[in-house]
């Protein structure tokens, strides 16, 4: 088939259960594969990794001429990206809060156990709705300081926003962009109000830390606070759900790997890394060059939308031995599951701990569990790829 329809075929909902043969086709056709819409697609590990570290590649949609508001740090370039990410990092990680995530291990374990109390033999559960979704949502709500009972509210906004942010080569995006803007403003307003209630009152959560920052030079503006809080709340629960669900799916499909992990649970951290390679929660990122750039003899003009297929790089035989094999003990696993370079996933450590806790707690139950439907039904989203439901019979 024609390589210039690759992105359309990858993002086609019918490809969701198994896009990997298309990624193989992409690497075969690559390094730079032009698409009918004028953008280009890159799927080889070394090229993707190089472009993630290339200071000429912009994450900001405005570089491509898109009009609009100033995006959150995920889609900003240095030095502004650096400034905002560092401010957002202050209550979350090193150098100012190095023990924050480590200190959540106990809480993550307790939440996991609570969710599992109903997982009895003979019962059928939906791993997504009953486990993989509520776990990260509960964690991010406590971390940020968002009432858990508001979940239906922000879930609706979040759905609209991730749809608007998805990679869709053919669809007219005007409507979804408009809906996205509306949802972003409403969600930002909601989070600002939550933060405002904490002003002047000490609180352990991140919204409280942001709004009560004593040093004016280290304070986020209202607009920055809204953008950052929206980003953290969405990213905190739209991605980890895929990682955990993909983990359960992968282990139930591979009894040998499941047995290995049950025998040697110390392999769990490396198994989670392998999951991030083998079935990453985020499949693609978009970048736009600030200048004409040259990749292996192909010039990509400035302003071109460049889609980096992280999930394809993760399966590149030029980088990984037997890339289509799931190997929980894989050495030298420099996967692209969290991206790379300055935009490497902000919440990666939290996602790792949640996935390790979730899979670790489920391991003893999975030996006798079975998939009700394989492949399971998938979410619409191509960029944030994962099952919508995963029914498992215990």
């Amino acid at each position: 088939m024609d390589s210039e329809t690759l992105l359309a075929r990858i993002t086609d909902y019918a490809s969701r259960p198994d896009p990997y043969p298309l990624y193989a086709e992409l690497r075969e056709a690559g390094p730079v594969v032009w698409q009918a819409g004028g953008n280009c697609l890159i799927g080889g590990y070394h090229h993707v990794a190089a472009l993630l570290h290339d200071p000429r590649m912009s994450a900001d949609p405005r570089t491509g001429g898109e009009l609009g508001h100033k995006p959150p740090f995920l889609r900003l370039d240095d030095p502004e990206h650096h400034r905002l990410r560092n401010l957002a990092m202050r209550p979350f990680g090193p150098p100012h809060s190095p023990g924050r995530v480590d200190g959540m291990r106990g809480e993550i374990r307790r939440i996991t156990e609570e969710l599992m109390t109903s997982f009895e033999p003979g019962r059928q559960v939906d791993i997504v709705d009953d486990f993989a979704y509520p776990l990260p949502v509960t964690v991010i709500c406590r971390l940020l300081g968002v009432p858990h009972e508001d979940e239906p509210l922000f879930r609706a906004w979040s759905d609209v926003l991730v749809t608007a942010a998805d990679v869709r080569p053919d669809a007219d995006s005007t409507e979804s962009d408009k809906a996205g803007d509306q949802a972003r403003i409403e969600m930002g307003g909601y989070l600002l109000e939550l933060a405002e209630r904490r002003r002047g009152k000490p609180s352990e959560d991140m919204l409280g830390a942001f709004v009560n920052e004593p040093d004016p030079a280290l304070r986020l503006t209202q607009e920055e606070l809204a953008e950052t809080a929206v980003l953290l709340l969405i990213a905190g629960h739209e991605t980890t759900v895929n990682l955990i669900t993909n983990g359960v799916l992968t282990l139930l499909r591979r009894p040998d790997s499941l047995d290995l992990l049950r025998r040697e649970p110390h392999l769990l951290p490396s198994a989670v890394e392998e999951l991030l390679r083998y079935e990453p929660p985020v499949h693609m990122r978009e970048r736009i060059p600030h200048a004409d750039i040259d990749i292996a003899g192909t010039t990509i003009p400035r302003g071109t939308s460049v889609v980096l297929a992280l999930a394809s790089g993760n399966r590149d035989p030029k980088r990984f031995h037997e890339p289509d094999r799931f190997d929980p003990a894989r050495p030298d696993n420099q996967h692209l599951g969290f991206g790379g370079g300055i935009h490497l996933c902000y919440g990666a450590p939290l996602a790792r701990l949640e996935a390790q806790a979730a899979l670790g707690a489920l391991l003893p139950h999975l030996g006798t569990a079975g998939l009700v439907q394989d492949p399971p039904p998938y979410r619409q989203n191509a960029m944030l790829r994962g099952p919508r439901h995963l029914h498992v019979q215990f």
Binding site: A50, P55, R56
Partner: protein
């Protein structure tokens, strides 16, 4: 032939980072013969970079920096024994205890030692230190913990600067004396050395540049030093950080091409003999070697870099147990790092092999930048300050001989990115500190005058 190479007797002289990694790699490559590692220090291989960082900061003790092993090297460790010579004809390594070890293939990884203060009597004063070994670090750390009035650091290269930084972090008064115009100038050139000087002073270091220390004073114990500008520094601890000396004396009569610049070898780590003929059974790796690098005009490079010790040791080990057509060249681009005064400085390529530079990202004012060095119109090096995630991009420019100045387009690119300025790499002989990368090919005599 290939099978023969996987067996027999291999002796490694030098039991530090390069020796250890080579021993592991030899087993990984399937070497099943006898393997002996000789080291003059009485310790199992330990890591040195933490000695000027974690240990001086009081966060680790000097006796806990042993290197973890990747795999069991199944070697005989002859520790605390100095090698005194090698007989290339009889294929034996001579040891200080009178024994001699027969070998089929020999790897030399004897590294460097701290350049001592030239006056032995003054160097012997209590309170005068160099920093290279575990014992050096333990002694210096103990003295720093006792809270001296002032520490004098002689030489503002990477080691001297890291020592000064650690002292300031511990709240100790520090004077740094450097013969050159600024710290780190020998390794990084003029522009970054000015930032380094600002960092020293902002952190409260009494930095004296353009001076030499003419005498260390004291009656038994160090009490201060005379400087060439006529001033005197009162201090009770002195750290001599004048760079390194290669451990080659034991090879003086060996017939190998060993001199103060190191042991010359080819890109496959095979040592040259004194006639410039390559040997096939003596290999060299790590700080003690000097080797030609095609990216830098085939000049002989000698690198005091942690990463080079590992990579070159692995290439040497591979080549020791594989036949000619399967041998690999050591072509890795040099990478170096230093953490000082809260900044993380990383270098890729050879900054001293340059004529001009540009600030490609960030700025000196922000203390966060990427600087790119060029020589005759192509990129030869880059240095980042708190911007390590860009380093791979610049490494690729160096590896591909990209044109200098580098292509534009970085989002955080300053206006000055278009304006190359001279890189101002000084003649090494005007410095107190020895450079950690030395081009030893074209101007060997100039290199030899460094004291």
């Amino acid at each position: 032939m290939a099978d023969d190479l996987k067996s027999g007797r291999i002796v490694v002289v030098g039991a530090s980072l390069a020796g250890l990694r080579a021993a592991e790699k030899l087993r990984e490559e399937g070497f099943t013969g006898s393997l002996t590692v000789v080291g003059d220090e009485p310790h199992v291989p330990y890591d040195r970079p933490p000695l000027s960082k974690q240990v001086l900061l009081g966060q680790a003790t000097a006796d806990t920096t042993e290197l973890p092993v990747r795999r069991n090297a199944d070697a005989e460790w002859r520790l605390g024994v100095r090698a005194t010579g090698v007989d290339l004809t009889a294929k034996r390594v001579l040891l200080a205890d009178g024994e001699s070890l027969p070998y089929d293939r020999l790897l030399i990884t004897t590294g460097t030692r701290a350049r001592p203060w030239p006056n032995p009597e003054e160097a012997g004063l209590a309170g005068v230190f160099t920093l290279r070994t575990r014992e050096d670090a333990a002694g210096l750390s103990e003295r720093l913990s006792a809270g001296p009035e002032r520490v004098l650091v002689i030489g503002a290269g990477f080691t001297g600067s890291e020592i000064a930084s650690a002292c300031r972090e511990r709240g100790l008064e520090v004077t740094v004396a450097e013969r050159g115009p600024a710290p780190l100038v020998g390794a990084l050139g003029g522009t970054l050395s000015k930032l380094a000087a600002v960092m020293h002073r902002n952190h409260g270091v009494d930095l004296r540049t353009g001076v030499t220390v003419t005498a260390l004073n004291g009656n038994g114990a160090f009490t201060g030093a005379q400087l060439s500008d006529g001033s005197r520094v009162e201090a009770d601890v002195c750290v001599v950080a004048l760079g390194a000396v290669r451990n080659v004396e034991w090879l003086a009569d060996s017939g190998l091409a060993a001199d103060p610049r190191g042991i010359a070898c080819d890109a496959g780590c095979r040592a040259f003999n004194m006639y410039g003929i390559v040997t096939d059974d003596v290999f060299v790796a790590g700080d003690v070697s000097r080797f030609p690098h095609p990216l830098f005009g085939y000049q002989m490079l000698s690198l005091e870099h942690w990463g080079n010790a590992v990579e070159q040791a692995e290439v040497a080990a591979h080549n020791m147990v594989n036949p000619g057509p399967l041998r690999r060249p050591h072509l890795a681009v040099p990478v170096f790092w230093s953490t000082q005064f809260g900044l993380n400085i990383k270098s890729v390529g050879v900054p001293t092999y340059s004529d001009h530079l540009v600030i490609a990202q960030g700025s000196l004012e922000a203390r966060r930048l990427a600087m790119v060095y060029g020589f005759k119109g192509r990129v030869t090096a880059a240095v980042t300050v708190d911007m390590a995630k860009s380093l791979d991009y610049y490494r690729h420019l160096i590896e591909t001989g990209a044109p200098f100045p580098p292509p534009p387009g970085a989002a955080d690119r300053p206006i000055a990115a278009d304006v190359p300025v001279p890189s101002d790499v000084p003649d090494p002989s005007v410095l107190s500190h020895g450079p950690t990368v030395a081009l030893t090919g074209h101007l060997p005599d100039r290199r030899l005058t460094v004291v």
